[in-house]
């Protein structure tokens, strides 16, 4: 990590802390009833999005999941607009129509969270196909969970990417649970990375709590993709510190287990320790970032709170992009 430029280190820290602060505040706002619907938080998994996105350009694409805030933030999505979206406000990035599970920021190549587990994997393959046919040197990255790796799109889409040698990287965030089902009961193998063999592509498993490790592995995979050498499957072993969704009673795992991870494998704490010990960054630098990030998040919340609700008639807008004859409302 000596070769990681300082700028990048600062960006990594800022990104991880931004995700953490964002998610902690969202948890509170949800508990207060200000954010409705289903909310799946990324706390504990920050190093995965961060270590991967460290290598991506704005023009690169990602596809995300129901647990998508971290990907969105790390890809550079507009946080004010996404916070307003979580509230269901008219100023939301989806005008209040999407909510947490459907946040997208096409302006920065974020092709969308997804309420369907596995639903976004082929979209990354599609973006990669577009990249290839347009002769670009961009890449697409699909994020998804351990649970998703048992789903149809994982199999079908990765195989397509493999035979067509597309510039795409598959990042499985194995947080050891599919809601209540532990990874050990989902698959009779030890790592999702073993599945790469089925498609003839490289597969690698990495400690998802160690942002430097993720950074290294992602670097290689993304370079391969950019160089036209085809896809890679990365498994990042990670852990969600909160319930599956806010309100989850978490009867399927022990408090001790959760505490152990929080205590020993917090990606932000580990990062701080490393950079301070190695003298790569100073305490002051870190504190400054944390303060700035907090302000930014608070501003986004203020913006969301003060924003107006969408108007009822907007329900009927945004279905089609070309004007259509015929009716959207079956006007009985």
């Amino acid at each position: 990590m000596a070769e990681i430029p300082k700028e990048k280190l600062l960006w990594m820290y800022e990104t991880m802390v931004k995700i953490r602060e964002h998610e902690e505040r969202v948890a509170e706002l949800f508990a207060q009833g200000k954010i409705p619907g289903f909310v799946h938080l990324y706390i504990g998994e920050e190093a995965v999005a961060t270590g991967v996105m460290a290598h991506l350009r704005k023009e690169d694409f990602i596809t995300s999941t129901h647990r998508g805030h971290g990907h969105f933030i790390a890809k550079g999505g507009n946080i004010k607009a996404s916070m307003a979206e979580l509230f269901g406000k008219a100023t939301g990035i989806c005008k209040g129509k999407g909510g947490s599970m459907h946040i997208a920021d096409l302006d920065v190549g974020e092709l969308g969270a997804n309420g369907i587990v596995g639903g976004g994997i082929p979209h990354a393959v599609g973006a990669a196909l577009g990249i290839k046919l347009n002769g670009l040197d961009n890449v697409a990255v699909a994020f998804f969970g351990d649970g998703a790796s048992n789903q149809q799109n994982f199999h079908e889409a990765i195989n397509l990417a493999a035979i067509w040698k597309l510039p795409v990287v598959f990042v499985c965030e194995n947080n050891l649970y599919q809601i209540s089902l532990p990874y050990s009961k989902q698959q009779a193998i030890k790592s999702v990375a073993e599945r790469a063999a089925a498609y003839g592509i490289p597969g690698v498993s990495v400690d998802g709590q160690d942002v430097f490790a993720v950074y290294e592995v992602a670097k290689e995979a993304i370079e391969r993709a950019r160089n036209g050498e085809g896809p890679t499957l990365i498994e990042a072993k990670t852990y969600r510190f909160r319930g599956h969704f806010e309100g989850d009673p978490q009867i399927y795992r022990s408090k001790e287990e959760v505490e152990w991870w929080k205590k020993n494998k917090d990606p932000i704490v580990l990062f701080e320790k490393t950079v301070l010990e190695k003298g790569l960054l100073t305490k002051e630098e870190l504190d400054t970032i944390r303060e700035r990030v907090k302000r930014e998040i608070e501003e986004s919340i203020k913006f969301a709170e003060e924003s107006p609700w969408p108007k009822p008639k907007e329900v009927l807008e945004d279905v089609f992009s070309t004007p259509t004859k015929g009716v959207l409302v079956w006007q009985w």
């Binding site: 409705p36 619907g37 289903f38 979206e85 269901g88 406000k89 939301g92 989806c94 209040g96 129509k97 999407g98 909510g99 947490s100 599970m101 459907h102 997804n114 309420g115 369907i116 587990v117 596995g118 649970g147 998703a148 048992n150 789903q151 149809q152 599919q178 809601i179 209540s180 089902l181 009961k185 989902q186 698959q187 009867i251 399927y252 609700w309 969408p310 108007k311 009822p312 907007e314 329900v315 009927l316 279905v319 009716v327 959207l328 409302v329 079956w330 009985w332």
Partner: protein
Amino acid sequence: MAVVREITFAEALNEALDYEMSKDPKVVVMGEDVGRYGGIFGVTKGLIEKYGEERVRDTPIAESGFIGTGVGAAASGLLRPVVELMFIDFLGVAYDQIYNQAAKMRYMFGGKAKIPIVIRTVSGAGASAAAQHSQSLHALFIHVPGLKVVYPSTPYDAKGLLISSIEDDDPVIFIEHKMLYGIKGPVPEEPYSIPLGEADVKKEGKDVTVVATALMVHRALEVANKLEEEGISVEVIDPRSLVPLDEETILNSIKKTGRLVVVDEAYPRCSFATDIAALAVNKAFDSLKAPVKLVTAPATPVPFSPALEKEWMPSTEKIEKTIRDVL
């Protein structure tokens, strides 16, 4: 009748499952988080403790795989699976196994197969769950032949219809509206069954017929009770099972009232609402005194924001206005 205890819709379903599992070792429950978690809406609570991991199976996210597994198990004659599709919105990742396999096997095989599978699933808006967790997609199961489709509105109906569904030898799609899980109603402790294909007249009336499903039954009743005070007499019919459909009860009512409003929380086109309208204009044309009106959702995805979702759903205001329109 003696006073019966009141329990929730979710508890009523749980009793039906418990009863069937206790009675028939072939009945097994499968789905995501149906085990110790008890289902994300609590419907399968306690079953794994009582019947064990072999009969109550948590599955990976592989809906086509595990619903197909249920279909094969049913076709083999060895099991009677009750499979949970966590949200009806997810049908698209398993639809082939439902409408091309389960629904058609008996017919394709010349009547030789029995496919005793129940697919329980959750529908409906009202929880700000947005476009992929709020849909009401029963029309997609009604359209394709070979599936029975049940959609109850009360705890009492839920229990009796789930028992009938599990004991039925054909594939049944059993749909539970997520906003109904918490409602309470009288439910006998002993098991009982309600035949599939019998509508229930939830309120008698003579001026206008309202056919409504699931959550909309409650909204229609609210409006009917309000209008009653003005002397407008609304008959509210809950078909309860959408396939087979109790045409007779519906047609008799239309013949009596001459007016029809259908209230269905679903997309409008090629829908259960158009179905009933078509039934009326074909088989009760001479009785009709006014246009048939349908109160449905608009032809848009379900929006997330509560401000928009409320507008998207058929409201009591819209139902009331529509009923007044046809009078």
